[in-house]
Assembly symmetry: C2
Homo-oligomer: 393 residues x 2
Amino acid sequence: MDSSAPFRLAQRAARIRPSIIREILNLAARPGVISLAGGLPSPDVFPVERIRTAVDTVLRESPREALQYAPTEGYAPLREWVARQLSQHQGLKVEASDVLITIGSQQGLDLIGKALLDPGSTVAVETPTYVGALQAFNPYEAAYASVPGDAEGPLPEALQGVRDARFLYLVPNFQNPTGACIGEARRAALADAARAAGLPLVEDNPYGELWFDAPPPRSISSHWPEGSVYLGSFSKILSPGLRLGYVVAPRTLMPKLVQAKQAADLHTPIFNQHIVHRMVSSGLLDDHVPLIRQRYREQRDAMQQALQRHLGDRCRWTVPGGGMFFWVEVPEGIDTMARLETAVAAGVAYVPGFAFYADQSRHNLLRLSFVTVSPEQIDRGVGLMARALGLSH
Amino acid sequence: MDSSAPFRLAQRAARIRPSIIREILNLAARPGVISLAGGLPSPDVFPVERIRTAVDTVLRESPREALQYAPTEGYAPLREWVARQLSQHQGLKVEASDVLITIGSQQGLDLIGKALLDPGSTVAVETPTYVGALQAFNPYEAAYASVPGDAEGPLPEALQGVRDARFLYLVPNFQNPTGACIGEARRAALADAARAAGLPLVEDNPYGELWFDAPPPRSISSHWPEGSVYLGSFSKILSPGLRLGYVVAPRTLMPKLVQAKQAADLHTPIFNQHIVHRMVSSGLLDDHVPLIRQRYREQRDAMQQALQRHLGDRCRWTVPGGGMFFWVEVPEGIDTMARLETAVAAGVAYVPGFAFYADQSRHNLLRLSFVTVSPEQIDRGVGLMARALGLSH
């Protein structure tokens, strides 16, 4: 019996499901629990006064434009700013007309799925990968092919084996969940292999500005622009609550993405686009983002020390050069999902690693975020976690 | 040859196309042309100072919440406000948990399509209907069945003939393009017929607050809540540029809509939701919307007089009791699309009626908007249009 009667659900609705990560975060959200589970940026670094100033200026100078319906493609000056930024820092030769402003980069993933995925189409993904992308592609009834990797990133020689995929989805900078950053040589090799395989690339870059030691290499897309879609976001450097991201796509694909966007919501809030344009064009990246980097770097260092202290000889991880996450491998046989409830009861939450695999999950991994917790909380949380996992000294 | 190479487009991409209305509006957007074509609200009635005050309060009292990631369902106090409002004015017994906040009501239509439409599924529509809804449903490869109507609205006895459709889409209040408002008895009869046919209803109400003479009857959904989805919007009463709308759905369907929303963009900008909640909870509807009604009513009256003066004995129309549009039937044999270029060259733009039909277009109709033009411009524009159509005295 169809419990949705009188509504008859589309076939794809069976693939529209709650996010397992969100369910885990709900489980972890208990008062008094130190959450190393979250994927939220620190609200301590929201530029509140600069937003207020930008709003004042926008409402004084252009209220009739900033509150009205607007072009689907986005606010032209913001598109121009993005194009300049990517030309300078990502090696992408793009113009404003190559940029579509979206509701966070998540919407970019949805539009890509809508334009490129038929039921049963394969999407090639990293192992592990960002689960929000799987969630975006699932309603289009995608299948997944996990591309094997090594310490440098996905293996270029593996791409021929997934050449029938509609595209390869990648987060090359400080990936969620692994924190890994693909090196320059591997980027070029991946782009070459993708071109040779006729396999388009979807490069998602929410964390690239959050580097602590050195900026990441230029985008993979810059090595094969006509075969690549690039996604960016203002969520991690400014505010997720404004929901602004962007997609850069070749001219062979962009019209379909714009038309899909128009069908989906007409356009991204133009008020928000005016506000963010005011902020970035007055130099936000130059003087605000370094503050975020410094704060997160200190917390990254605190987590590295805590992991060394509490788990040093039992577990493996790589120190992330940016972003928000450590990816920790615990000894075989410890199921991090099975231990989560014990950990939360003890006062600490993490995200079990199995949730980040498109298939063939591994169960002895976990993701830790260091950005919303103080160095003291980090040390205490990692210590509690070590005990809950049966790994304390 | 596939011009999108190396990208392979999904089958549905053939149905993702530019909006013909937008193309017409681009054609009509020439300097010096009086536009009776637009569908935009008047920027003269944007409550700019109230928005500024609301932003100040939000940034002072809850910046960490208003700028952070947020629940997919929406800001709880705004959902509560919507639920109360609909319970009081639309006869809907709803709670906050029945409300999903979306990017305008357009996104609600997209989510409904995603959850309910398979390729080839039929959507039953009014004749004519809102083309933005067709644009939202097209990417899901919908077919359409036009439901015949009379002066009172769609014919209840026609619903058995479309009982295999996934739903009937309706704009009962001051419809775009016709301006028509379905009466109370017809609403009840439509809901009864839909229930008997097992045909769900999707009721879209962007214009209901813009009544000039008397409020419209309570929602059709209130006659069959378990079979109806109701959509509303803040675009016409506050600002379209903030992109806030909402969907009310039965509990049998809501989880799929929420999960589809999460996959599509995680959530609606929470900053915007805080701002609008501040405004509506401080009584915006009571003291701002009457100003919009008064202004639009005067312009409606001016257009009625202009139509009488310039076209009175040659054309037919009904005076709309609210909303933004007149729907004018010109004599058979005059093709309003064919005459548009002449009209624009003469200094006035309208939207040809053929664009508003899912099938079986009629060509001797046109839509006129009265909300962004002064009474003087309305009179001059209608006069110019009469000459361009060969109908002047």
